[in-house]
């Protein structure tokens, strides 16, 4: 066997590249990024039972199930499927675009036309069919600026009649909060409404703020707040408010923005963590205002999940029965999961899930209790197995 030429050529790369890779290891990254870019192949990880209960049961949630209906269980694992080309959504097929030498990566989320600005031209995008020997596809798409955001940060790309958000892949953090505000009109693209005290988990206190104008006024006075380059920063034992942000224009879903009592503003809304030192005075103004002008609210899980056994698969829907999780199987509920979106229908069409399987279905939105417990917004399915009361999702 002869060594391929390129293997020999790689032996000639510069010494610093080689020694750089010798010492390299896992970087401390913003752990929330994974959640922010959940779009394509969805990965869910250890979640306690209460956090994943169907939303129809909200209000009856306890940490160990719903009114004792469920067994004691937890869900763990990960599912990542390499889909054949024809089963990919358009934003999974074409994930990056280069414009004027700058690379933008798709966030996998759509943005309404009302937030889209002028066209910045038509660009070829390349996609690879990973299953079919990396067969290369090229397609042209129209790119657009986004209103209230500089083109250097975010753009929109029109694919199959929807606009998808793309973010510059360059790590170029602003020097100050003011610099960030100059390129992104934060008060217009981010709404600060839901927040919790000291982290967003089922046991935190949750609140809803009806108007965030005052907070943006306070932040507008913090333009000179400096960017803190500290990838290891964590809120830790600090007292802080954790706002949950979903922004169409930024292409983010339920990411976080913290304001800490000791004067830091932290967010993971931009792929990398951004940390500014706004000072204690500004922070306390924001925290006090939010606390005094908000209403208590229910906890909202990051994503809704139902777990159960597939009873039937039709062309339009699948029926999932959750008795397998119940202490008393007679308490089981059957959910009708609509196959109206490629993201869920492909699991059936590609044979990933079949009747009789125990599955975990993730969905956005609500369950329609008045119509056979219908779930319209399902986005992924994973096979699960139950043993000794625990549900494990195999890799």
């Amino acid at each position: 066997m002869k060594t391929p030429r390129i293997a020999n050529a790689i032996g000639h790369i510069d010494d610093d590249l080689v020694s750089g890779a010798v010492g390299s290891k896992k970087k401390k990254k913003n752990v929330w990024v994974k959640w922010g870019s959940l779009a394509a192949c969805f990965a869910v990880l250890v979640i306690a039972g209460a956090a994943v209960l169907p939303s129809r049961l909200e209000g009856n949630i306890t940490h160990r199930g719903t009114d004792g209906r469920y067994k004691d269980y937890h869900i763990a694992g990960e599912s990542a499927i390499v889909w054949p080309w024809e089963y990919l959504t358009v934003y999974e097929k074409y994930t990056n675009v280069e414009i004027d030498g700058m690379e933008y990566l798709g966030k996998g989320r759509t943005v309404s036309e009302a937030l889209v600005g002028e066209s910045i031209g038509s660009y070829a995008m390349i996609g690879y069919d990973k299953i079919n020997h990396g067969k290369k596809y090229t397609a042209k798409f129209e790119a657009y600026a986004l209103k209230d955001i500089a083109q250097s940060q975010f753009i929109a790309v029109k694919m199959e009649d929807s606009y998808y958000v793309f973010q510059s892949n360059e790590y170029a953090p602003p020097g100050t909060l003011g610099e960030l505000m100059d390129v992104i009109d934060l008060s217009k693209v981010v709404e600060l409404s839901r927040f919790s005290e000291n982290g967003d988990n089922p046991s935190s206190n949750h609140f809803e703020l009806s108007n965030d104008d005052y907070i943006w006024e306070v932040l507008a006075d913090c333009r000179s707040a400096s960017f803190v380059e500290d990838q290891t920063w964590m809120a830790g034992d600090r007292d802080y408010l954790s706002f949950t942000i979903t922004s169409e224009a930024l292409g983010v879903y339920k990411v976080a923005l913290y304001v800490t009592e000791d004067g830091y503003l932290w967010t993971n809304a931009f792929n990398w963590q951004y940390l500014f030192h706004i000072g204690e005075e500004a922070a306390s103004k924001i925290i006090n205002y939010a606390k005094e002008n908000s209403m208590e609210a229910e906890y909202e899980p990051y994503i809704n999940v139902v777990v159960g056994t597939i009873m039937e698969i039709t062309e339009e829907y699948i029926l999932v029965d959750d008795s397998v999780l119940c202490k008393n199987p007679a308490d089981g509920i059957t959910y009708k999961v609509m196959l109206n979106d490629l993201r869920i229908s492909r699991y059936v069409d590609y044979g990933v899930i079949q009747a009789g399987n125990t599955v975990q279905i993730s969905y956005h939105g609500e369950i329609n209790e008045n119509n056979d417990n219908t779930i319209e917004g399902a986005i992924s399915a994973s096979k699960a197995t139950i043993s000794d009361g625990d549900v494990f999702i195999p890799e």
Partner: protein, 184 residues
């Protein structure tokens, strides 16, 4: 012992140089050789040949980066030895890596006027345009021949993410080489 002092020992023709090299880089070299050859006996011989190679090269050569210098010799010797090994003895992992690389640039029939060294420089130039983790994953795989599992563990990625990363980097590299005139 720091590298400058080890190199000085080579210049002094002091055999302690080999012992110090072994103490400092023996494990690293053995790792590379084992990744490629998949057995301890051949790897051990390759590492010993590496030391002989270093002894014969320094002086006159005075490497700026001694660690990379040693790694490069081990890698070259291991790949050479692999060519003469029986197929059934070769690791499936390394064969797959070589096949993947062959799809980017198989042999001298392509761009015969460009030397391997020049192609290596182009690859280095390309890698410098990639994000740090993408670059390091590529080098760990195709320079050090680490397994996907080891790379995933090292960088905290899933195995499928690591495979995808490599897949994209190979395709991008191929496009880059074509753009740079290495006709495929």
């Amino acid at each position: 012992m720091d590298d400058l002092r080890i190199i000085k020992l080579y210049f002094d023709r002091d055999e302690q140089a080999i012992e110090e090299t072994d103490i400092k880089y023996g494990k690293l070299c053995h790792g590379i050789a084992y990744n490629i050859l998949n057995n301890h006996e051949d790897s051990e011989e390759c590492v010993n040949d590496t030391y002989v190679g270093v002894w014969n090269t320094i002086p006159p050569e005075r490497p700026n980066n001694f660690m990379s210098f040693v790694c490069k010799i081990t890698r070259n010797l291991s790949l050479k030895r692999l060519e003469f090994m029986k197929r059934e003895k070769r690791s499936a992992d390394v064969l797959l890596s070589l096949e993947e690389l062959a799809a980017v640039l198989p042999d001298e029939r392509y761009a015969p006027d460009v030397s391997d060294e020049e192609v290596g420089k182009l690859i280095g130039k390309f890698l410098r345009t990639q994000k740090e983790d993408v670059r390091n994953v590529f080098i760990r795989k195709y320079y050090f021949f680490d397994s996907i599992g080891d790379i995933a563990k090292r960088y905290g990625f899933t195995e499928s993410k690591t495979k995808n990363m490599l897949f994209y980097t190979r395709n991008k590299l191929k496009d880059y080489l074509i753009k740079e005139g290495v006709e495929l």
